[in-house]
Symmetry: C2
Subunit: 361 residues, 2 copies
């Protein structure tokens, strides 16, 4: 058989390849590639001509071939750690959505595309997509996905400081301890005498640091800790825990809930016990959701500033991918923001106040 088989004329199975474009434009493959990618030394006339022919043929370069040749896919993954066996469960819809939006924009601005991948059984999914790097949200203690990626030499940046010795390339996080202390001070200033906490049973860093800060504050102030733990991934468990907390003999007169739905959970529980908010019970929870602006009463929330986190994470990751990691620090702390509403104030002025800020930008 000679090299030029007669059978492979035109586009052999529907899609036009670079060869077809070259033939139709009467130039070589090299010229097409250069013209389309803005490389080489070509007169504008040729460039335009090739581009026009490519458009007419509906030519799209094969992502697989390009990736294979260049070693870069232009893709970065965004993972949400899973709690059960389900692909993903969001305790924080709004947080995730905001963070993902910001991350997508930031990636796009630097020429990358972001794909959201469930963190299920690792290889099955991950090995099918060529990733230049990955963002991991709240990696758990010894996350197999992360170690696997790192072992392959793929940069990994985490949202939330990694637990244990997880070898991530960089991380971005809030100063959770400072945020909790700020809230407790805020509640105390509003007149709270005994502040309770609604927290989680899981061992992730957010839960651990926040709980620790609470206990530390109690010790310093001299208040007995009053808290309930529950598995944060189970929405019903949150409602039950809120109820338990308010049913205690040492009922708190103010509560901070670490998770997004805690606001509504606590509000419902307060109603059941005939407690008025904020008169009998002060309430704050950590959430990005806007529903707390219209609840009865509106609830004070702590925002973790997901947009800033999403942007920062992507910048760090792309820097690492492109080998520019010398510029920025590999650890970045984003300040939180306390959005003060009726539920945490005995006298009802309505303003937005910034929380104590973390050490770095």
């Amino acid at each position: 058989m000679s090299r030029a088989e007669p059978s492979r004329r035109g586009s052999r199975h529907g899609r036009a390849g670079i060869r077809d474009v070259a033939a139709a434009a009467g130039v070589s493959i090299t010229t097409v590639s250069d013209a389309l990618n803005g490389k080489g030394r070509l007169p504008d006339a040729t460039r335009r001509h090739v581009r026009e022919v490519a458009d007419r043929l509906g030519y799209r370069p094969s992502a697989a071939a390009r990736t294979l040749r260049t070693g870069k896919s232009g893709l970065i993954g965004l993972t949400v750690t899973t709690y059960g066996d389900e692909p993903f469960t969001f305790t924080e819809f709004a947080y995730f959505a905001e963070m993902a939006r910001a991350a997508t924009s930031a990636a796009l601005a630097r020429g990358y595309a972001l794909v959201i991948l469930p963190a299920t059984s690792r290889h099955d999914v991950w090995s099918n997509v060529a990733l230049d790097g990955t963002v991991v949200i709240d990696p758990s203690d010894h996350d197999p996905v992360v170690s696997d990626l790192v072992r392959q030499g793929i940069p990994v940046v985490s949202d939330g400081r990694p637990a244990g010795t997880l070898p991530v390339t960089a991380w971005v996080d809030n100063d959770h301890e400072a945020a909790v202390l700020g809230i407790l001070d805020h509640l105390a200033a509003a007149g709270a005498r005994r502040i309770g906490l609604l927290t989680g049973t899981s061992t992730d860093t957010y839960t651990r640091l926040s709980t620790h800060a609470y206990l530390h504050w109690c010790e310093r102030i001299g208040q007995d800790p009053v808290y309930e733990k529950y598995p944060a991934h189970d929405p019903c468990a949150g409602a039950v825990a809120a109820d338990r907390l308010l049913a205690r003999p040492d009922r708190p007169d103010a509560v901070y809930g670490l998770f997004d739905p805690n606001g509504t959970d606590l509000l419902a529980a307060a109603r059941r016990y005939g407690l008025r908010v904020p008169e009998d019970l002060l309430l704050v929870c950590c959430s990005e959701s806007t529903v707390y602006a219209t609840t009865e009463p509106p609830i004070t929330t702590l925002s973790l500033k997901p947009r800033r986190i999403g942007t920062a994470v992507v910048q760090l990751l792309i820097d690492a991918i492109e080998g520019l990691d010398t510029g920025r620090p590999v650890e970045q702390v984003i300040p939180t923001e306390l959005i003060v509403r009726t539920s945490s104030q005995r006298r009802p002025p309505r303003t937005t106040v910034s929380a104590p800020r973390g050490p770095a930008v």
Copy 2:
């Protein structure tokens, strides 16, 4: 230069390739490929040996190379149509999350991975990832992404029946008209005399069909339509529209809201006007969110059964990818479910009742 350069010994830049595995195992590349993919005629001993060596070397086949060779990437895309210039905006967090979860599971079960892609400027993102097929949620009238994909011969299945002549491969949807009629009947049976509607300004099929069904019902019953439109992607606009609706001189005594946040919007507006729910105002909205189980009072919601839709969409898509499209119909209607709570009942029994079902499974 001879073919075997001395310089390319071992893994040349960190990652082990199939060549390295072959060399380390003392077999040929063919044997490695066959052993790892369960093909060819190899004794179990060889197969095990190769697998063991591959594991030891941390070998992962290159997704790009595999895709290039086989023409299949094993990836299917999931798009959320964007409203503004932002990558994606969810009017329906919960719907999307549930749908995406179900779709991911279904895809995994059939050996595919699902990647969630923002529907921004099409090529920029889409051309970077090799997709075997795509799921599109609520494609707009003449969606450029969809036509682009179809022109490339990539199967596209849409969640929501396509508007206009959008050439999708298949679609899955609820019977929105039947659902709306069911709700209106439900409200009328609960004693509503004038039922209002909170609807959107956009032209997508869901909004259009639902609004049309409402107007049709009003005409049949002989009630003057009472509705407010607003841009569904703007959360603040929803609150304003809810307020406008209840401020009208011909104030409705029952309202159905087409979008997820309408429940809280309407509840807040009702409070402002001193209307008790359900005594003065009956409320239903379309939502998958569980927060409506704990609002004061709990709000009746219409569920579109996102899990069933996600599963069905993926099945249809994979059938099309694998050329099995003869089996299933290309149009599938999923029944909705009305979850009746306090807000739509003058007497407070609490049960879950199924809505009138669509024609097909």
